[in-house]
Amino acid sequence: MNKALTSLNTFFLILLFLSLIFSVFSVPKLNVDEQQSIKVNFYELSQQDDILFDSSIPNVTIKQETKKSSLTDKKIEPSEAAVVSKFKFNKSDIKNEISKIKLSKEREDILRISAIIQSRISSIWIKPNSLSESLITKVSINLAPSGEILNFKLIEPSSNNSFNESILTAMNKMTFLEDVKFLDRKLFEENFRNFNLVFKSSGEIE
């Protein structure tokens, strides 16, 4: 019996190991068209501002939220693009590079639109004083391709009622996020049809 259990455990361990390997290796193939999450945090977006003005440099950093694959931070250095143009690779390499560039272009679009949405919401959200309390509220949003906000819902309210109310008030002020209408339709459906806004407060005293 014990032997059977040990071998079963070993089997699970191997399975776990294999699935980890699988998830790591499957990442580059994870096109944005799979339902993956891209968590855009504030600091990345402030870096991203430079890129918005100079889109010729595809220096994009995207943090993916797939928990098992923390290795998914993807950087394409400007020099890398230069290398591609300088040297001839075989066909599959070129294909790979093209898909990489396409991928980074899509991610850049997602980041750009996310940054716009972030700054538009920030500009109307009147954040209440929460003293030293750390608060997080998650809102789910449904958008029409025109950018119209079809509906929104507090999916994870914080413990502070006035914090939640301030977010509902801000969301009610916003009726359109029209910037998404310039997005590729596929990209829109995959990322902006339904997404979450995470409102955070670390308290007034940092």
């Binding site: 339902q35 999450s37 004083n129 002020k173 806004l197 940092e206």
Partner: protein, 427 residues
């Protein structure tokens, strides 16, 4: 097999159920815009009452620069009941909240029934309604109660419009006065006038008494003055000099500084049995004690390491902990009402500014930008810090909201105003 199944579900779900998340950390620098519509008045009542009440409320709400208002002349309508209220009239003016109300008569003795409603224009809902019965001679008091409720509804913080300030006025080198007033500077009362310095006023938690230091007999001596009867009593604790009294949150004892043979240390003084208990015993100067909201700890300033720094001591175990390390001057510490952070005077290159620090963090943050700030006091709801500062030679009370959006100075009369103490909330 079940384990395996869960494992697979877990791995797969990680990929399938995650969607784009955008973090919002920063809020807007704008203020909420509130329309204070003149209250309607029932026939037979003095017509100006309606306008007076809404003006009083508006004055309160704008006092600390936390809101902006819609000017009465720009209002498209003056509804006084919900049936006349149209959200679109306010939405197009960019109003966030709208307050309406009505004054009705209760009886011929001048008692009024004042009803009011507050609307959130963006959400298109009524968020507050209420009624108050009061005398026509007390419109200002009634307005304070309504202001508190509105403030609490919008901000989630307690309203502080019926709190008071105590402070020391030094109008000329030989005149010291201890005064109390409403927070808008109105209704000032002089409690005591002396030719010798007066310092460190502090409110009892029930708001009925004030403790302060007076040099009228040549040495620093602590007096407790009853605000109703005006009676003053010296606490006559032992030691050469007594100073810096602060009431414990339960009102039963004072933390104070007693100096035996010139060395100041922190003591507790029980008001019931007049017993003095030593808390610190060090050859350095220990001063400026203040209680934590849970009464378990006392923060104080000490120069035991060579420069003034803040420490806290557990009143039971007497265990001490150093709280500040940045710079060579950190003094007059006070806890925030939630007990998780402190604020104090931080000196840096000859500038003295008000700073805050989370107890769990290493970093301090300066709040003010003036250079000679001293004796900060916090509003009982924890949202506003006032402090004494100088404009040339004239001392005045400056204030700042914690989010830094609003800075203001409090209206005060002539003379240097120092050492503000904010009264607790009325229970």
């Amino acid at each position: 097999m079940i384990k395996f199944f869960f494992l697979v579900v877990f791995l797969v779900s990680n990929n399938i159920f995650s969607i784009l998340e955008i973090e919002i950390l920063k809020g807007s620098d704008n203020l909420s815009k509130v329309a204070f519509v003149p209250f309607g008045v029932e026939d037979g009542i003095e017509e100006s009452y309606g306008g007076q009440i809404s003006k009083f409320i508006e004055g309160n709400m704008l006092l600390f620069g936390e809101f902006e208002n819609l000017d009465e002349s720009e209002m498209l309508s003056y509804p006084s009941s919900e049936s006349d209220f149209y959200y679109r009239d306010w939405k197009i003016q960019g109003v966030d909240y709208s307050l309406i109300g009505k004054v009705n008569s209760v009886n011929s003795l001048g008692n009024l029934n004042i009803s009011y409603s507050l609307f959130n224009i963006n959400r298109r809902i009524k968020i507050l309604e209420g009624e108050i019965i009061g005398s026509e001679n007390n419109l200002e008091g009634i307005s304070k109660i309504i202001s508190n409720r509105i403030y609490e509804q919008i901000t989630g913080l307690k309203g502080i419009f019926d709190t008071k300030l105590a402070y020391v006025v030094n109008s000329d080198p030989e005149t010291y006065q201890i005064c109390i007033s409403n927070i808008d500077g109105k209704n000032e009362q002089i409690l005591f006038t002396s030719k010798a310095p007066i310092m460190s006023p502090d409110w009892s938690p029930d708001r009925k008494k004030i403790a302060y230091v007076s040099f009228e007999n040549g040495l620093a001596e602590i007096f407790i003055q009853d605000l109703i009867s005006g009676q003053r009593d010296s606490i006559q604790a032992l030691g050469m000099t007594n100073s810096a009294p602060v009431w414990s949150p339960d009102g039963k004892s004072l933390a104070l500084v007693v100096s035996f043979s010139g060395n100041p240390d922190i003591f507790l003084y029980s008001l019931n049995n007049k017993k003095l208990t030593r808390l610190t015993n060090h050859y350095g100067i220990d001063t400026e004690p203040s209680w934590s909201p849970d009464s378990k700890k006392i923060i104080f300033t000490s120069d035991r390491t060579g420069s003034p720094q803040l420490y806290e001591i557990n009143t039971k175990s007497k265990r001490k902990k150093r709280l500040t390390r940045d710079g060579n001057y950190n003094a007059r510490g006070r806890y925030f009402p939630d007990g998780k952070s402190i604020f104090f005077v931080h000196g840096n290159d000859g500038n003295f500014q008000i700073a805050t620090k989370k107890l769990s963090s290493r970093y301090i943050e300066t709040l003010t930008s003036t250079s000679l700030d001293e004796s900060p006091a916090i509003s009982p709801n924890g949202n506003i810090i006032i402090y004494a500062t100088k404009d040339g030679t004239n001392g005045y009370l400056g204030g700042i909201t914690l989010d830094g959006k609003s800075r203001f100075s409090l209206p005060v009369k002539n003379g240097s105003v120092r050492e503000p103490a904010w009264s607790p909330l009325l229970n």
